[in-house]
Amino acid sequence: MVTKLIILLVIVLGVIAAAQLMRVHELSSKLGEQKEHEISNRDNRWNASMMLVFMIVLFGGFIWLMLTYGWVGRGEAASVHGHELDWLLNLNFVIIIAVFFLTNFLLFWFAYKYVKKPGVPAFYYPHNNKLEMVWTVIPAVVLAVIIIFGLKSWNSVTSESGKEAVNIEVFGYQFAWQARYAGADNQLGKFDYKLTQDEKNPLAVMTGESIQLAIDSMEMGLGGIAWLEDKLNDRDIMLTPDERAAYDKDLNAKEKLIRLLYQMRQSHDAKLDKYAADDFFADTLVLCVDQEYEFSFRSKDVIHSAYFPHFRSQMNVVPGMTTRLKFTPDKTTVEMRKSRGVDDFEYVLLCNKICGGSHYKMKMMVKVLEKTEYDVWFKSKSEGVLSAGATMKDPAWDIEPATFDYKFHKTAAEPVEAVEGEELDGDEELVEGQEQEEADPTDGNEQAEGHDAPAV
């Protein structure tokens, strides 16, 4: 409705402008003596009145927008510090809107009022130090107030979280989020990106087992070192120079990485594994109302930004470093739905840093539950991860020592002999197994999941 009105308005304005132009053209051809650079009194007065009209339209438009859309269109805050920030935002808005009205009014009013009137000279007024002092000092004082309040909030929002804060890690990658809960011990297991296995260890959590898994996969998995060496040395396969270069490059990278993995294995402290053991994963970020949370963020690929509009929180998610933020949700999803009168409202975590083509789709739902509900959920999740053979929908840390499967490069359809611990040189089985997978690097992506596809 509004839009249609606006479109209409624009068309009308356009037509008026066009008509004006036509007339202008006629007039200017008649008034040949009028010099183009000498602005007539009539034009001066017309533009002066337009200044006034424009000011009214500008102010009116602003007020209309404010009344229609409010200035916190995200709705009310749903976190403890969010209320403080909204208060601060309102304070700042009151100040800047006052300045906006005042200065724009003076500007357009003077432009209207002091239009050239024949015979009235301008007032020669080159400076006035007192006046200039006034408008240096007043902004300085106002800004001091803004700075003091602003920094107070900033410090409290970014300060360390309390001891009872629950730890959650949020992991971002093109184009989704994953949450890792610290489990019952509230301690997150360590991680290292080199341990990433798409299926078995998507978040690269570090344990003795996951290190071994990564090493095995890199040595002998599809596209692993043995596989690559084999490709490069097999005289029966014709490689184009490009392919050869790509395999070489890949091999170089993997040899570098495997050395680091060996080091990691050597220096790994098995006592830390227990922190990781009870970590569990979720596709939906489930939170408990009135509970403080300490989030740490990690990215797999490019920079993302964890943006929680309703909790008034945001932090970039940067590859190669961990970032953090904290907040305490203070309204459950159900409460928020009620107070907004919308029964399908949800909290959300959006990505707010350009991260690729599907940036705009990268989100994770957030649910804030009552403590009782939350406890049930949390318990089932953390028990699920500890019991073998858990049936969890979320890609979870489901590697159990007993069922641990090193034959990761085998596909369901084509069982391959275990290669665990065997010498690689001249191993026929291995070669055989790999021949079956010959076509994989290009079209076998689904089968090859869990492995680093060779860079071709």
Binding site: I7, L21, V24, K35, E36, H37, I39, D43, N44, W46, L58, G61, F62, L65, Y69, G70, V72, L85, L88, N92, L107, F110, A111, Y114, K116, K117, A122, F123, Y124, P126, H127, N128, E132, T136, I147, G150, L151, W154, V157, T158, T196, K256, V302, I303, Y307, P309, M315, N316, P319, G320, V342, I354, C355, G356, G357, S358, K363, M365, D452, A453
Partner: protein
């Protein structure tokens, strides 16, 4: 002050020697011609960037709807079935922003007017080095063509936003535009920076050394002060961007790890370790923030001159204006990290930048109030240039105040990278600088082309533009406050959690796009007026606006060396308008003081 004119060119026979077409119009070393070359190139690039913005605005207002307009410009590859592709959306946004900031408002604005006005207003025969000046233009032209050409690359132009943060910009696997498109972007920018440095050094040297006798620093027009400070900012900050661009090129091509660490991209595990994406951001914004003022200060300088002339009053607080420009210039170097409050930077560092950033508001406020006071009790002549200059003051204020919100780190948490930011920087930097540029073109058109532009068309242009501009960017603040992230192809994700908010955004997005189309169409009035007036406009008198500065003492027909005879000698500041006791309401700078007259 040693401001003796150096007549190094030996121009005793100004304008008499024959010039070939090539040396006059193409490889010209004359600053006036170079200024016009900058302007023409900028007009072309500006039109391109404007069309790009309309293309992606159509997608934002009517997401997923097929449009002939899109297929016409983008073809099947980037708009299959008339619907913009996701990747190309980002490509358009990126190139739009890059062109607007660097090619229109840095190269175009500063290049055009610094070149045209510095020698003319300080009373010099030409720039210190005509040859370097020519190189500066040709580097600019080449970089502009590379950037434009990158739109036609198979894998698309750069798509990582005009800030091209790595790793997105460093890894071709991350997005298609980070292939050849990004390489071209970086090369183009490197050449652009070379151009900017050559230009800036020339401007600085010319202003310091080639002022005519009597032209002390405290008699310089504010335009020159603005160009001077701008050039210094450029010289100090652009090399830092160059280093960032070179390091990024190395990360892309030589396997270094300046900005990359611990990355798995499209299933490929990279070996890069130890680099920091934040390092890039620090380097980028060390240029990026001064860049905002590199864009803005020349516009403020031009409008100081125009407002004073057309109010027939001296600019109020000349010294305070210089002081505040110097303060802004200085402070602009210690605020860069206000773009990085939520990047994971140490929050204490954030506090420091809150403080320095809000300090900038003080000199800015002084400038705004001084402009307004200049109008007070004036005798205002509404030449088209004056309208645009007043528009600039309005947008400078409106965009400036929202900066206070963004500078407040605590509030930036929720507004960072939303449309609130987009609205803010468009109003304060985009609109102000564009208005300043238009004001400059209308005002100095007679000096450039010896013709006067049609004022009626100028009025139509101005009123359509300011209504359109506010119509586009005012509602954008509200979209941003509703939480809408920028660089989103569409807002369909909202339908999964907040339909109310989505409805509001769609309302506003349609309004914005309609105004954008209107504003864009309005610019064709300008283009028509501009080209028509060059060829058929009425001939300009020597000093059409009854102005005091020296450029209006040169003949309308351009001569090599600017003044046919002696260089003028300066006796007063440039703002003696409506001085009591004088016969006319203006006294050019080369008129000697009469007995007993005080300077000001």
């Amino acid at each position: 002050m040693a401001a003796v004119a150096i007549d190094g060119h030996g121009h005793d026979d100004h304008g008499h020697h024959e010039e070939s077409f090539v040396s006059k119009y193409i490889f010209s070393q004359d600053h006036k011609m170079i200024g016009k070359q900058f302007l023409m190139t900028a007009v072309f690039m500006g039109v391109v960037a404007m069309i790009l913005s309309i293309l992606f605005r159509v997608q934002l207002a009517w997401p997923g709807e097929s449009s002939d307009f899109l297929s016409f410009f983008l073809g099947e590859q980037w708009a299959p079935g008339g619907v913009l592709s996701e990747d190309m959306y980002l490509g358009l946004v990126t190139i739009h922003g890059t062109i607007m900031v660097f090619f229109l408002l840095t190269g175009g604005l500063s290049g055009t007017f610094s070149n045209l006005l510095i020698p003319l207003q300080v009373g010099a025969r030409d720039m210190a080095s005509g040859f370097l000046n020519m190189l500066s233009y040709w580097f600019f032209f080449i970089s502009a063509m590379i950037m434009f050409g990158s739109l036609f690359v198979e894998t698309g132009p750069a798509m990582a936003g005009w800030t091209i943060y790595p790793p997105l910009s460093a890894l071709p696997q991350a997005i298609s535009g980070s292939g050849l498109g990004m390489t071209l972007w970086l090369f183009s920018m490197a050449i652009f920076i070379a151009s900017s440095l050559l230009g800036s050094l020339n401007y600085i040297v010319t202003i310091l050394n080639l002022r005519t006798s009597g032209m002390s620093m405290t008699r310089l027009p504010l335009t020159i002060w603005a160009f001077f400070i701008t050039a210094i900012l450029g010289v100090l900050s652009f090399p830092v961007l160059l280093s960032a661009a070179l390091l990024l090129l190395m990360d892309r091509m030589a396997g270094t790890s300046f900005f990359l660490s611990d990355i798995i991209i499209q299933g490929e595990m990279l070996t890069n370790h130890g680099g920091s994406p934040l390092l890039y951001q620090h380097l980028f914004w060390f240029l990026g923030h001064p860049e905002v003022y590199i864009v803005l200060l020349p516009a403020l300088g031009l409008s100081s001159e125009i407002i004073s002339t057309n109010s027939r009053k001296p600019i109020f607080g000349y010294r305070a204006m210089i002081g505040s420009m110097l303060a802004i210039g200085f402070l602009s170097f210690i605020v860069w990290a206000h773009h990085m409050f939520v990047t994971g930077m140490n929050p204490f560092l954030g506090s420091v930048f809150v403080f320095t950033t809000l300090l900038i508001a003080i000199p800015s406020a002084v400038k705004a109030f001084n402009y307004i006071t200049t109008l007070w009790k004036g005798s205002i002549v509404f030449a088209p240039a004056m309208l645009f200059a007043i528009g600039l003051v309005s947008t400078f204020i409106t965009g400036g105040v929202t900066g206070i919100i963004l500078a407040d780190a605590a509030l930036d948490i929720t507004t960072h990278d939303t449309y609130f930011v987009v609205a803010h920087f468009h109003v304060v930097m985009g609109l102000s600088a564009v208005f300043g540029m238009y004001a400059g073109v209308y005002h100095w058109f007679p000096k450039m082309f010896g013709k006067v532009m049609n004022s009626k068309l100028g009025y139509a242009h101005f009123w359509i533009t300011i209504v359109g501009a506010y119509g586009v960017f005012f509602p954008m603040h509200f979209v941003g406050l509703a939480g809408a992230p920028r660089r989103y192809y569409d807002y369909s994700v909202y339908s999964e959690f907040d339909k109310e908010s989505l409805a509001m955004q769609m309302d506003l997005n349609v309004i914005i796009t309609v105004f954008a189309i209107m504003a864009a169409l309005g610019q064709f009035i300008f283009l028509f007026n501009f080209f028509y007036s060059i060829f058929r406009g009425p001939k300009a008198p020597q000093n059409p606006w009854k102005s005091n500065t020296l450029e209006w003492t040169t003949p309308v027909e351009h001569v090599h060396g600017n003044w046919p005879g002696e260089l003028p000698t300066v006796h007063r500041w440039p703002y003696d308008y409506s001085k009591p006791g004088a016969e006319e309401d203006f006294i050019p700078q080369n008129v000697p003081l009469v007995e007993g007259e005080e300077e000001h």
